[in-house]
């Protein structure tokens, strides 16, 4: 019996991988309704990658940094809102979870690439989404071409892509893959005080590439590539539910 064992003891006993701590502090701050904007700005200012992404988000029309109209983290926070900060903070552990899932299940080394430099998917493709609700509401979307989806499903099931003739099998693998990724993401949210529950995955074949933004929340686009396989992950969340 494990009565009274702490998470730390259990995580050692079960051999859990350590969790990334960098995003936790910021997520904890964002999850508190009484957080001070200056305090949040200080944390972002110390993380150059996060600062860069926040400023780019606040200047959607700018071609480069010289054209930025919003130049400080404080102004960017005022402009984008806390929902954006949350998805920015959480996208780091989310990206790690995606890379780790592909590495573990497929021995595939995904590279996190700039979503604007990625080659867009044309026409029909597979989209899978999982909603989460509770102290934070939002959705995680996974988009990939049908060829990528087939190659990934075949790799996970340990068969040749030619043996995969049933789209339902491809959809089931995609749904489970996103389930795993979103489960890791949700655990990070819960650990930061944003308790929420996941909904079952929805998987469709569609031509629609649009991701609806959660009202009042932020939206982050992530893109990954490994050889011919390219996947897009969008996350939208509002912590002020």
């Amino acid at each position: 019996m494990n009565e009274g064992a702490s998470y730390h003891e259990l995580s050692k006993r079960y051999g859990f991988a350590p969790k990334p701590e960098s995003a936790s502090r910021l997520t904890l701050l964002v999850s508190r309704q009484d957080s001070d904007l200056d305090e949040i700005a200080k944390v972002i200012d110390k993380d150059p990658a996060l600062r860069k992404r926040l400023l780019r988000l606040a200047n959607p029309e700018a071609e480069n940094e010289a054209e930025y109209a919003v130049e400080t983290v404080e102004d960017a926070l005022m402009r984008n809102g806390m929902g954006s900060v949350l998805v920015l903070a959480m996208s780091t552990p989310l990206a790690l979870a995606i890379v780790r899932s592909f590495q573990t299940m497929l021995s595939l080394k995904l590279e996190n690439i700039d979503s604007e430099e990625a080659e867009l998917i044309e026409g029909e493709h597979l989209v899978c989404n999982i909603g989460f609700s509770g102290k934070v509401v939002g959705q995680v979307y996974l988009h990939m071409s049908l060829d990528s989806a087939k190659a990934i499903a075949a790799g996970i099931l340990g068969i040749s892509p030619d043996e995969l003739t049933d789209n339902n099998e491809i959809k089931d693998v995609a749904g489970e893959l996103l389930n795993i990724i979103t489960g890791n993401f949700k655990s990070n949210l819960c650990d930061s005080g944003l308790d929420c529950r996941l909904q079952p995955p929805e998987v469709n074949i569609t031509t629609d590439f649009h991701t609806p933004k959660t009202p009042g929340g932020g939206l982050e686009h992530l893109a990954f590539r490994a050889g011919k396989i390219q996947i897009f992950v969008d996350v939208t969340a509002n912590p002020w539910n």
Partner: protein, 137 residues
């Protein structure tokens, strides 16, 4: 006697991966796609080990585990959680219910076999065959 292992997961993909990992071993894999089915199969098959997911439709893994531990006939069956849920509160709550081990998804097949092997004696199929006495001439 081959081992009986029950995999309770709503994802067919995970059940297939578990089946593939266990293929070289002398065991029978029973399956259920939610906690309610899992309890029925556990009562019918009396497995040596249960691999249990958390988030499932109809009845989730935490509810199934609670009911399993309340049942005198089933409570001794070792349970390994096989889930993407690794939030601090969830892990502590599930551990208190009395799980034997916990494997966070994504996992490698070798990790799964290692966890199962810590709790029950897994024998390779050839090794199990070798223990069967040859028929007398």
């Amino acid at each position: 006697m081959p081992l009986k292992i029950l995999s309770v997961d709503d994802s067919r993909t995970i059940r297939l991966i578990v089946g593939r990992a266990l293929r070289p071993y002398d065991c029978i894999l029973c399956e259920a796609s939610n906690g309610e089915e899992g309890l029925v199969v556990a009562a019918r098959e009396n497995p040596d080990l249960i691999l249990l997911d958390v988030t499932m439709p109809v009845m989730d893994g935490v509810t199934m585990l609670t009911k399993l531990k309340e049942d005198p006939a089933l409570k001794a069956i070792p349970v390994i959680m096989l889930t993407a849920e690794s939030g601090r509160n969830n892990v502590v709550q599930i551990a208190r219910l009395g799980v034997r081990d916990y494997l966070v998804k994504p996992f490698k097949e070798e990790q799964l076999i290692e966890k199962i092997g810590r709790n029950v004696t897994l024998k390779k199929k050839e090794a199990a065959l070798a223990t069967i006495p040859a028929p007398q001439a």
